[in-house]
């Protein structure tokens, strides 16, 4: 894809450096948008092309006539703006410093409130939420979110199990009320509704940006370079880049993505295919959606770290950006011809491959005569995953069905390897066999798709056949059947009551665990179920007891595991409400304080829980 020559609809220079990520556009007078950005440690610049001079604390900048500077005594970490005050429609500026939040009315030069944020400030966003009628300011800290009213009163507070990196208000469940989507550095996107988490989406890296798309869709970007779109909690598509996404915006039926290196691409909303691409001269500092030209439609406003501002009109399908240069039908044909040639070329290469195969039909398999690329046609690859208690990992075994060898195997999966996204095995020449074992150690209890690419051939081959397979590891694959004599400590457990046949529970276990032998009930009449499992990660034991009376007890010292199990089971059984009791003799001291609440909330987001 070549860099296209899309012309911006407007272009201006701020003559100030801009700190990436700390930029907002606000209507301080209620009508005219002003670009507001951090220009270094404690300096805020406000670009106001439409209004005169901003009075008050702001100073006119020497470097640019339409820019005012505002100096604070503290570092600026986050900026946001919104019509917080219910009595007027002017946007208030929210300035986050490492431990404080200042709400400032730029137009009136008054402070709305000044509040300490003991948990730090990472992100600020303004929006309506739940039943609250007026907009609130949401502050994401190092392990919490809080909602503040225009006077600075805390209307709600909740814990997040990681540093908050991105936040948006969004009507996730289409009930007419906004939920808060929180993306954190522990790789989860959580949906907060009425101070309860209703959904937790496991991603593969820290979430760095979130942006609403349509009613039911939102886009996300990760620190590992992935961007994508979710629709009602299901991922529509994702693509991965080497760069990090800085901002995502939905404009003209396309997802616009701004990357840190200054590249901006317009992607098809349903597939993620790149439609247009431009490259800014320097690294990007922000990309926002605002009607900066007062044309009635919001443009994409890109800000570079050197202070260059470029505006792009919404993408239109038929004529791209330049409505003037209408595409002629022959132009379209030409592009189609190039595309058809690409296809033809690929097909011809594939055909050549089959033809060469047909031609080599008579060649013997004898090692002396065998061509350097050959392999018996009926070679197949078998893959199995089983727990290895000795090595405390899962063994992925790959084998061929004849004398060909597995030269190398690549396992691609996200979030389960310490380094990167791949695990590779390349045995020494003396150890080449038709069977190859790869140890896997998923660090978290989430379902993982592993893609396997195995190169199969002979030890002296110059070319190898690629076999590709995908295997899904169930959520609790790191737990295997414990030895008969294992004794579980009964100190800590969770208990709750469900009314469900054990047959269904049995199916749940077989779906979510990777047991050597599928769990089977003794007879149709069985009413209770007990199983002891061994964790390959830390050698601890887990005992699950499903009583005949519906009483369930999970014995484990790992509170996170207990939460995950309950959540998984609840989702499987379609439960929305469950009363759970958590007993731990070791943790009893902790229960005295607030932390317990936090722990419980952390482990079982979708459920109402009661502590005892």
């Amino acid at each position: 894809m070549q860099v296209s020559t899309v012309q911006p609809v407007f272009k201006l220079e701020l003559n100030h450096k801009v700190t990436p990520g700390i930029v907002t556009i606000a209507k301080f007078d209620g009508t005219h948008p002003c670009l507001t950005a951090s220009a270094g440690y404690d300096k805020i610049i406000i670009h106001h092309p439409h209004i005169g001079v901003v009075s008050g604390r702001a100073q006119r900048s020497e470097a640019h006539g339409e820019v005012s500077e505002l100096s604070l005594s503290q570092a600026v970490i986050a900026l946001a703006a919104g019509p917080l005050r219910p009595d007027c429609n002017r946007d208030m500026l929210l300035i986050g410093s490492p431990s404080q939040i200042l709400a400032y009315d730029v137009h009136d030069n008054t402070d709305l409130f000044f509040k300490d944020a003991p948990d730090g400030v990472n992100v600020i966003t303004v929006g309506t939420f739940g039943k609250h009628s007026e907009p609130l300011a949401f502050v994401g800290g190092n392990s919490s979110v809080q909602g503040l009213s225009w006077q600075g009163t805390e209307l709600f507070w909740n814990v997040v199990s990681g540093k908050v990196c991105a936040m948006i208000t969004f009507d996730f469940d289409k009930d007419g009320e906004n939920e808060l989507l929180v993306g954190s550095d522990d790789s989860y996107i959580r949906v907060l509704k009425n101070n309860q988490y209703i959904l937790e989406i496991a991603e593969t890296g820290p979430i760095v940006c979130l942006s609403p798309v349509t009613e039911v869709r939102f886009s996300y970007g990760l620190a590992n370079g992935t961007i994508g779109i979710y629709e009602e909690g299901i991922r529509l598509w994702r693509v991965k880049s080497k760069q990090n996404a800085l901002a995502l915006q939905w404009s003209g039926e396309t997802l616009v993505c701004c990357w840190c290196n200054g590249r901006v691409d317009w992607r098809d909303g349903t597939t993620g295919r790149v439609l247009r691409r431009v490259q800014m001269r320097t690294g990007a500092a922000a990309m926002l959606l605002a009607d900066y030209r007062s044309m009635g439609v919001p443009d994409i406003v890109c800000v570079s770290d050197k202070g260059e501002v470029l505006g792009y009109a919404p993408y239109q399908e038929n004529n791209g950006f330049n409505a003037a240069s209408k595409k002629l039908p022959s132009e379209e044909d030409r592009l189609a011809i190039t595309e058809l040639f690409n296809k033809k070329q690929a097909l011809m290469i594939e055909l050549q491959h089959y033809e060469a195969n047909a031609a080599s039909g008579s060649v013997s398999l004898d090692a002396l005569e065998r061509p350097a690329t050959a392999m018996p046609t009926n070679t197949r690859l078998q893959v199995a995953v089983n727990a290895s208690i000795q090595n405390r990992c899962l063994d992925l075994t790959i084998s061929t069905n004849n004398e060909t060898i597995v030269r190398t195997a690549l396992v691609l999966a996200e979030g389960i390897f310490e380094t990167g996204e791949t695990l590779a095995r390349h045995p020494a020449p003396s150890q080449l066999r038709s069977i190859l074992q790869i140890p896997l150690k998923p660090p978290r209890d989430v379902p993982v798709d592993v893609h396997i690419k195995a190169l199969v051939g002979y030890p002296d081959s110059e070319q190898f056949h690629i076999f590709e397979l995908t295997k899904q590891l169930p959520r609790f694959s790191m737990y295997t059947t414990a030895p008969q004599n294992a004794r579980v400590s009964k100190d800590s457990y969770v208990t709750f009551r469900i009314t469900e046949r054990v047959q269904r529970i049995c199916i749940w276990i077989n779906q979510n665990f990777l047991l050597d032998q599928e769990l089977e009930l003794a007879s149709e009449e069985t009413k209770d179920l007990q199983i002891t499992l061994y964790c390959l990660r830390d050698q601890s034991l887990l005992h699950m007891n499903f009583g005949a009376d519906g009483q369930v007890k999970f014995y484990t010292s790992d509170i996170r595991l207990a939460g995950d199990l309950i959540q998984s089971l609840a989702v499987y059984l379609n439960l929305t409400d469950l009363q759970v009791t958590f007993i731990s003799y070791n943790l009893s001291i902790i229960f005295c304080n607030n932390l317990a609440m936090r722990l419980i909330k952390k482990v079982t987001p979708p459920l109402n829980m009661m502590c005892s």
Binding site: K242, R334, Q345, A424, H426, I466
Partner: protein, 675 residues
């Protein structure tokens, strides 16, 4: 960008080598031209374009790979006689496709470039330039290294011809009558020549394109061969081919590069030393092997290009490509009808492929095993020598889009890759000694580089070159991965070629003498373990010099059958060479005697030289640092102007003297801090 050219695809051929596409001269002034192209399958085809549809004039049967296609020249004017080189054979075709000439030459290596001027046929193969006159061998000249390209000029006041040849790693040589009359060294590594089309017969000058991307001019004047670099194209790929394109605006030098870009530079033919102006750039995603101008699709000139994988396409002015004005003679529906024809063809191919695929799938399920032997994927790979920073670059070019690479090495290496790919280093398997890495490519990637370097600080006590295995996995069918083996030499820094006269420099030379019953070929193969890049081909007596890109020490190699002498002012280098010589001879069970002569002041002199070098680089490093600091102060003119500057004298001097763009300090590399 001044010009607005759009791409029009014509045909697909097999893989093409550089400079194998030529446009035939027009028969009448206002007619459309035809073009010939030869590919790796040995097929030569001549095509014309009628109503946007390619019409085959003639097409030969497949044979040996075609490595060069040329048109003969008679008194500076191209004729329609087509000359094609395959292996050591040259064939002549008329424009109708009739063979009028076949010669099997006596050259031992593949002909890489040729020229036909009147009755003269000049061939380059390997290191030799051979001249034939009326099909009789007249003379030949053996250069010091491979001949990359060549141009022919008429010698003033005689019927003789002058040859300007580019020699790998050396520069340019001018030959007359089989004798060297002038030579010039060009540091940027020139790879291609382009002679200005309307040059006066007395002038001997040509443009060159280089491996590092730059474009320059070679001029022979007053018995001196001089070179000027006209364009420093930093960040652009190596020049693969050059051609000429004429339009209303004037003469343009067309450059096709390895990184898939095509540029048009406007050149003033009356004043060729003037800097060419960039007018147009196009990216096609894979190495460009030929570029040339001509009126192919219409009466107006367009740029015709071929790529490595065999795509032949034109870049035509958009006004002509889609406008209704200039294309009155071409029906509006030409493109549409062509498109629908192609659509049917692709649909037919799809069906055929699906059938064959099904057949293949069936054979994989059958009990009696057949044999699946797909042809080797067309992939090229070359490894460069190390620059100052120690990185060696493996450039991979493929005819099919790539999905990923898997890299394995028995030792830990530092690695980097293209911005179009994602590098992921895997945890090593058990021993912690090996490197396993994957490189995932963007969709449509056909070329890619991987940089590797020995880890800094790890004791280099290894006695053979390090093999890096690269498995190349293509994106589509056939699902096979090709294994490439790249050998990283022990002394990768010795990649800079030097003139042999460095021996006369005042350095304290330590010497090692190896004698024994080895052949020159064996010595060459032993040296490939040590030195990067291509070594001179075995001949009776070989002498060459290399210098260390970072430390600037010199290594002189001189060997013949049974005797080899290595001279260097770097004692560690000598030790590595000694080790390799004894190791290799033992594995080959050849008895060798190794003797040294190390002057007592060898180390001292080297250290003094190094110290000076360190100090110099340190000073440069500091100046650059200060200049950067001054720059970020955003000082106004008052502070830095010539007369009454407020900046202190030292800083003012640095501000004016140091040119950030052209000065580079190797200090970080010297102290081993570079990333």
């Amino acid at each position: 960008m001044d010009y607005d050219l759009t791409r029009i695809d014509y045909i697909i051929t097999g893989i093409t080598y550089p400079d194998t596409l030529k446009v035939l001269p027009a028969t009448t002034p206002k007619s459309q031209q035809k073009f010939v192209v030869g590919d790796k399958n040995g097929v030569l085809q001549c095509l014309g374009i009628k109503d946007e549809e390619p019409v085959v004039q003639f097409k030969t049967l497949p044979g040996k790979p075609i490595t060069s296609v040329q048109l003969s020249c008679v008194s500076g004017v191209q004729t329609d006689k087509i000359f094609v080189a395959t292996g050591n054979e040259v064939k002549g075709y008329t424009r109708k496709g009739k063979v009028f000439l076949t010669i099997e030459t006596s050259v031992s290596e593949t002909i890489t470039s040729m020229c036909v001027v009147g009755g003269d046929l000049i061939l380059c193969s390997g290191r030799t330039v051979t001249c034939y006159r009326d099909l009789r061998e007249m003379n030949s000249y053996v250069c010091e290294d491979r001949v990359l390209d060549m141009a022919v000029f008429a010698a003033p006041n005689s019927t003789r011809i002058r040859l300007l040849a580019l020699v790998a790693n050396k520069g340019a040589v001018l030959l007359e009558n089989g004798r060297l009359i002038a030579h010039a060294t060009i540091s940027s590594g020139p790879s291609r020549l382009a002679v200005p089309p309307t040059h006066h017969s007395n002038d001997t000058h040509a443009f060159y394109g280089a491996v590092d991307g730059c474009i320059g001019l070679i001029v022979y004047q007053d018995s001196m061969l001089t070179t000027i670099c006209l364009m420093e194209c930093r960040g652009l790929g190596a020049v693969v081919c050059m051609g000429w394109f004429f339009s209303v605006g004037g003469a343009h030098l067309a450059i096709g590069r390895h990184d898939g870009s095509i540029q048009l530079y406007l050149v003033d033919l009356e004043n060729i030393t003037e800097k060419p102006r960039l007018k147009f750039t196009y990216f096609c995603g894979e190495p460009v092997t030929s570029v040339t101008g001509g009126s192919i699709g219409s009466e107006d000139n367009e740029l015709l290009a071929s790529t490595f994988s065999g795509r032949i396409f034109a870049l035509r002015s958009r006004r002509h490509a889609s406008g209704s004005l200039a294309m009155a003679n071409i029906p509006q529906e030409a493109f549409a009808s062509r498109r629908s024809k192609l659509e049917t063809e692709v649909a037919r191919l799809e069906k055929q492929t699906a059938n064959e695929r099904e057949k293949y799938q069936r054979s994989t399920r059958s009990l009696n095993a057949g044999l699946s032997a797909p042809p080797l994927l067309d992939i090229q790979c070359e490894l460069t020598g190390a620059k100052e920073d120690g990185w060696q670059e493996a450039r991979i070019t493929s005819a099919v889009p790539l999905d990923m690479l898997f890299v394995y090495c028995g030792r830990k290496l530092d690695m980097k890759t293209d911005s179009a790919a994602v590098l992921s280093i895997c945890s090593s398997q058990g021993t912690n000694q090996d490197l396993l890495a994957t490189v995932r490519c963007q969709a449509g990637t056909r070329r890619l580089w991987v940089r590797m370097r020995y880890k800094v600080g790890i004791n280099m006590r290894i006695s053979e070159s390090v093999s890096v295995l690269i498995y190349v996995l293509p994106a589509g069918a056939p699902r096979v991965a090709r294994l490439l083996v790249v050998r990283m030499p022990l002394l990768p820094y010795y990649s800079q070629h030097e003139n042999q006269s460095v021996e006369n420099e005042l350095r304290s030379w330590a010497e090692v003498l190896v004698t024994g019953s080895f052949s020159v070929a064996e010595m060459t193969s032993w040296l490939t373990e040590v030195l990067p890049g291509e070594l001179p081909r075995p001949s009776n007596n070989i002498v060459f010099a290399r210098s260390h890109t970072l430390l600037k020490t010199i290594l002189l190699c001189q060997y013949r059958r049974g005797n080899a002498v290595f001279k260097t002012d770097n004692i560690s280098t000598l030790a590595v060479i000694r080790d390799i010589m004894s190791n290799c001879s033992v594995t080959k069970s050849i008895r060798v005697e190794i003797t040294y002569d190390i002057p007592s002041d060898c180390c001292l002199k080297s250290f003094i030289r190094l110290q000076e070098y360190f100090e110099e680089e340190y000073k440069k490093h500091n100046s650059l640092f200060i200049k950067k600091a001054i720059r970020s102060l955003d000082l106004d003119d008052k502070a830095v102007n010539d007369e009454e500057h407020t900046l202190c004298e030292d800083y003012w001097h640095i501000w004016n003297a140091v040119d950030e763009d052209n000065t580079k300090s190797n200090f970080e590399e010297l102290v081993g801090k570079s990333s």
